[in-house]
Symmetry: C2
Subunit: 552 residues, 2 copies
């Protein structure tokens, strides 16, 4: 599907960027009823970037959802091949934007071009991966229990079920992944793949990149022959726009990636609706890393290198950033601490996503600096340039008891800030693990045999996290069927769902059960003949075979 | 497993009922710190039944959850055979209670002995069905993506995930299924099967049956060699006890079956916790039944017979009771209405579960009687005896426009009360379907060819219900892999989950992902060798084969 029909590259760049119109994309219409008050800044220079974006009005937000609702039935009933085709067209069209998209995203977020090139690769790869998933079709988890009219004491009816789309979804993209978790990111492509129309609230930190991608999606929707209301994008710097979207009666679910405060506010709004709806918010966490004594003794330098690499990935602006590292005093402890300190000292300050995040980072660092139980260990030698929204890497130390006594030390400091917790023994590890709030990940570094199947630490961590890593780093998420990017509150609002990987589609579906339903009226996936050859559970057996039904 | 080790039947009946102690069951201890203020009444006679039950104190509620939390890690890590054995022992022990259990349940709820005999059969059958599910093991949805260290541009890590128990679950049983959806009902056995300790809040309508079953579960837990804290039962007639349980920090999820007001109140409490938790509340609905014109013309009598049977099942006290039936004026309409009226007239009043439900039913009927847009059609000829908490069957009629103008007519009247909505044409069906709140079920009666794949009615119903029935009745739920007993709010608090059928276990688990985790430390279900031979998804392929991993 990735042909070369579309021009790409720098010849188009100026042209595309000149066309930024700043309006809402409401299906196939543009709309600008509000004021063009949203401007993007280059965080590296403070300069205002070209393009003025219109704050959406309540009417525009409502129209986006009304358009979505009006086409929801038609979209739900499209053949899966049509939806797979849509996702592949979206990937193609994003690639066709060429480097203009990366250039604009770079200017808006200060993320380096190589990083954005990689992120674009992930973005289009995940869209195509969902296309494959949808086309193959088994993800709908089809179940069939055939009738047994002669069963005693009561006849058994024919019962079948599968996952079906829930309707219009509102997506709030992340500031830190302007491509992979934004307008056509994981939330949007999983919802569209499921058969749910999507209304995206553009992130005001990168409105230009949002508009460019929205243009790509809009074209893909048209080329796929789908109703235009399947996709809309609205801009908003105020909280009002988000509220209007979440409170709109047509909205059936919300996906959000961002801060705890933001996610919790949306969840509260959704719960207070006359008809509450689920909010799937991924809100980050401190991602503790536990260094077992022998690993520390034997690999202090190596772990320190990995750790600082992970800590500074994306200027520390990853949800899975390892903010807290725990180690037992003893052999290797000082070597680890010194090695981290040395690397932190040598880390050049770097520009964060925007001035607001940089200020919040500064406040987080000050909170640690002003805590008498926390000692500064090292920070970037080179001073951070506030005019460039730069963050200096920071490394602090505290002891286990102080960490346990100060729940605020578990609060995420979003940025390249690490806190080393000095523990006396494995008991401290277990006590701290037991006191930890929900986290996206936890990492254990250990030598062979150092952690057993009876590990209290691992048993304590398991219910508190979404992903357990062994001798690795939590940053960098594989998009695959076995990924789980989730975790108990406050990491997310529902520990049962992931926002990355193919299972992220499960947020946007609900089971529908058909009892005694005529074969010819069933969705294709549930018909006796199983024309698509999907995997199904038939009378408790997994099979790709057709069903030979008992007489009803 | 169903041997005859346990005495059963009437020889034990007096003995068992004499032993009702009324105390809280907190693991293997009994506790009675509060006052013995809860008495069960025989709704048929008003007589106070033997046994006084102690209202739990906040300390007792807290102790139940503390005991649950203390054994949660150990229970989570039990082999699946142990949990399967527990569920089978629970079924055996319930059967061993013999008719004493049925007798007490009958006295407390007025449900007839044959119904309770059947319900016991369902209760033990579902416990054993979950035992089979757990023992087979594939339900954990194991996923494995093997490492590809040589992948470009980045190596692919080894990533695996499966569903794991979330920890202590609080169960609020239903008044209308004192065995199948109560102390050892679907919620409890699915949670225990998943590996979650359970604290049950006894239903004050049938506290004696609750205590008897709690004794059976307690013995099963001991015989299975499990920590006693795996199961507790607390009594409470006030809302305080429920609140203490839901607000306790150790509670990880709540299962509830009951009224909209009750379920919504618990959901609001849970959302307001410092750490919000999910409440899976099944709150009933009106379960609309649509009679297509040809079906009405050709089968009016037969449908009327089915309809009145369903309407009166359990004195109308089923969550899936078909409260609203819609038909198009024309051939068969009057025949249907007359046939229903005749059967309703001949329906003998019957005792409801308790006086409170009977009063609420009376208020619901009055609401319809006092609505000028609603006409009474028929009611039980024989007068209901208020002293026996009897409900008379009621049948009303309104027209489509009045139904659309009065959203209150969509409110469930819990009991044997039907409302016929006279429609002008299929457009009325579609408009009403589009205006319907979420419902557990919707039923369509149609002749062959009368509903096509392009049916707007079916397309409109699908997102609004959990189960679609064709030419059937919604009451009576098959416990199987394809059952979905759920639906959008207000039918439940989360449309993604079912409270009946094997998938009800999904409420009590969350995915846990293991990245780079040593094979010998993984849960058995994720190890390369796949010793249990469960179905897994390995590198996107479904298989029961072991994994031959790439070199890490």
């Amino acid at each position: 599907m990735n042909d070369n029909r579309y021009p790409r590259g720098s010849d188009l760049m100026t042209n595309i960027l000149d066309t930024l119109h700043g309006r809402q994309t409401l299906g196939d219409q543009f709309s600008a009823e509000g004021e063009p008050t949203i401007r993007a800044n280059n965080p590296q220079t403070g300069e205002v970037l070209p393009g003025a974006f219109y704050e959406a009005t309540e009417q525009e937000a409502g129209r986006a959802l009304t358009l979505a609702a009006e086409c929801a039935d038609a979209f739900r009933l499209t053949p899966r091949q049509t939806r797979a085709n849509l996702l592949r067209l979206i990937a193609d069209r994003i690639e066709a934007l060429g480097d203009a998209l990366l250039q604009r995203a770079h200017e808006e977020t200060a993320l380096p071009m190589p990083r954005l090139t990689g992120e674009r690769g992930r973005t289009v790869a995940q869209a195509r991966r969902f296309a494959d998933l949808i086309e193959e079709g088994s993800w709908v988890d089809a179940r069939i229990d055939t009738a047994r009219p002669d069963r005693q004491p009561l006849p058994k009816p024919d019962v079948r079920k599968m996952l079906r789309p829930i309707g219009p979804v509102v997506v709030f993209g992340a500031s830190n992944f302007p491509l992979a978790i934004s307008v056509a990111g994981s939330d949007t492509v999983s919802a569209l793949g499921a058969g749910c129309p999507v209304v995206v609230k553009a992130h005001p930190g990168h409105p230009g990149a949002c508009e460019l991608i929205a243009g790509a999606v809009r074209e893909a929707v048209a080329e796929a022959g789908l109703p235009a209301g399947v996709f809309s994008l609205v801009h908003g710097a105020s909280h009002d726009v988000g509220r209007w979207l979440v409170e709109h009666p047509a909205c059936r679910a919300v996906a959000f990636t961002g801060s705890l405060a933001g996610g919790k506010a949306l969840a509260d709004l959704a719960a207070a609706r006359p008809e509450p709806i689920p909010v799937y918010a991924e809100m980050g966490s401190v991602n503790p890393m536990f260094l077992m004594p022998r690993a520390l003794a034997e690999r202090a330098e190596q772990i320190a290198e990995q750790y600082v690499l992970s800590l500074n990935m994306g200027v520390g602006q990853f949800c899975t950033n390892p903010g807290v590292v725990l180690a037992v005093e003893g052999p290797g402890y000082d070597a680890f601490k010194d090695a981290v300190a040395q690397r932190v000292t040598g880390t050049a300050p770097a520009t964060m996503l925007h001035a607001g995040i940089c200020s919040a980072y500064g406040r987080g660092v000050e909170r640690l600096q002003s805590n008498a139980q926390v000692q500064p260990v090292a920070s970037s030698e080179q001073a951070a340039d506030a005019d460039k929204a730069q963050a200096a890497c920071q490394f602090f130390e505290t002891d286990a008891q102080s960490f346990l006594n100060n729940p605020a030390l578990q609060d995420e400091v979003f940025g390249p800030c690490g806190l080393l917790v000095r523990c006396k023994d494995a008991g401290d590890f277990e006590r701290i693990a037991a006191a930890m709030a929900g986290s996206l990940t936890a990492t254990v570094h250990a030598q062979p045999g150092e952690v057993g199947t009876d590990s209290t630490l691992v048993a304590t961590l398991e219910p508190r996290v979404g992903r357990l890593l062994f001798n690795g780093i939590p940053t960098g998420i594989e998009v695959c069927a076995s990924m789980h990017h989730g975790g108990p509150f406050p990491a997310t609002t529902h520990a049962g769902y992931t926002s990355i990987g193919t299972d992220s589609i499960l947020r946007f579906v609900k089971p529908v059960c058909y009892q005694g339903w005529p074969d010819e009226l069933l969705p294709e996936e549930l018909r006796n003949a199983n024309p698509a050859g999907i995997w199904r559970m038939v009378d408790d057996q997994r099979t790709q075979e057709p069903v030979r039904p008992n007489p009803r």
